[in-house]
Point group: C2
Chain length 250, copies 2
């Protein structure tokens, strides 16, 4: 049985705990959390200082990016396998006293919403080749999708994900706000939004582009700009419209 310690019990940490429940060969033995209130579902050991952590074959660090290095250095054991789960941090933020790796699940986790973990792609980086199989085995028990990439690729992947998820969500928020202020229920926009995303399974986003900007329909663009109340959203409209126009000029 391969023992696991989970360090951090925030948004991602709580989802990782759920992923690790009832896996064969792997056993989550201990969670470290600064918070005294840890509502974990299983009867496992919870500690609030790093010194209390028992040795584990694998330690998963899922804390804020700027705490990863510090925490990995304070672990009370050496020569074990330690991975972090951050998309934007390189492998070498981890202290060298343990064997190092990254295990990055590419998904947007909300506390309020359940997720089908089997569809989450995991991006693995591993320092010592002998640990690759262990991470591969663990990942395959959770998901059907994983890939080995290095720190530089993961950084770029994280940027790519910010565009595809965080920024997309913000545009949906702007869209919702404009609809709501004009007494149009946002529900009416959901089929359009779904189709926008479903389309790109068949067409590349570059070929799926529609709308006034790609048509260079400056009459509509001008009219839209006159009708957007918020200066901030007007700026977003302009930048994205220009970016679309320039993309298709090349």
């Amino acid at each position: 049985m391969i023992t696991i310690n989970l360090i951090g019990y925030g948004n991602v940490g709580q989802h990782i705990e759920k992923m690790l429940v009832n896996l064969s060969q792997f056993r989550l033995q201990c969670i470290y959390s600064r918070s005294k209130f840890v509502p974990c579902s299983t009867n496992l050991q919870v500690v609030h200082t790093l010194e209390e952590l028992p040795f584990a074959d694998l330690t998963i660090i899922s804390v804020k990016d700027d705490a990863i290095g510090f925490i990995s250095n304070k672990l009370p054991y050496e020569n074990s396998l330690v991975v972090h789960t951050s998309g934007s941090q390189p492998l070498n933020v981890l202290a060298t006293k343990n064997r190092r790796g990254v295990w990055y699940p590419l998904q947007t986790f909300s506390k309020q919403k359940q997720i089908d973990y089997s569809k989450i792609p995991f991006f693995i980086e591993i320092e010592n080749q002998k640990d690759a199989l262990l991470m591969e085995n663990l990942t395959q028990k959770i998901s059907t999708s994983f890939c080995f990439i290095d720190s530089e690729q993961r950084q770029q992947l994280h940027i790519s994900a910010v565009f595809a998820c965080n920024f997309v969500n913000h545009l949906l928020m702007i869209s919702e706000e404009i609809a709501r202020k004009n007494n149009i229920p946002f529900q009416y926009l959901l089929p359009l939004i779904k189709e926008t995303v479903e389309k790109i399974e068949y067409l590349s986003p570059k070929n799926a582009q529609t709308g006034p900007a790609i048509r260079k329909d400056f009459m509509t663009i001008q009219s839209h700009l006159q009708h957007i109340e918020s200066e901030k959203y007007k700026k977003v409209y302009e930048i994205l419209t220009n970016s679309i126009i320039h993309t298709y000029e090349l």
Copy 2:
């Protein structure tokens, strides 16, 4: 039987033709297209000059925004019902010699992709109340979702749709480009993108926001900006990051 003329056989026009096939009570009798090549599936009359158009109870104008007024004025009949399908044009671009309306299907139409028309929301505006029932009947034969709104609301709805569809697609294109340039197949991002959209059926986009900007994680934001090669995409990243930060400061 209510007869229909369809004016325009572009991207949207071709989808409208498909919507009108085999409806009870309504019959598409004639298509006007400037192009000599009209690959319509049914055996209906196709004309290439407006003078040839036979009278119809309903005329659907689905042409470029700046041609709607001109074409509605050149129709060879009066006192009929004429609607356009544009999201951004007001009802009053139509000539007054016919009874006027708007019939706006809110969807992103691609020639290469089939669409379930029954889920498309139609937004109807009608000048004479007596025509409302006809448009309602027609719409209900095609879709389960429709709504009466005025020209000002439709203008705002169109802006809302540009954010939710055209701009979202452009962000997906940027995301795809960054992933591809770093040898990461875009397929790996699809579960994240799907979840981003599925989430907003349960959570408002405002409550669903995740990522470095809402966390005010300036270390990650700085690092991303340093790693984005394209100056254009860097600008998009900055504007959207600032917009997110300011949204949650209020």
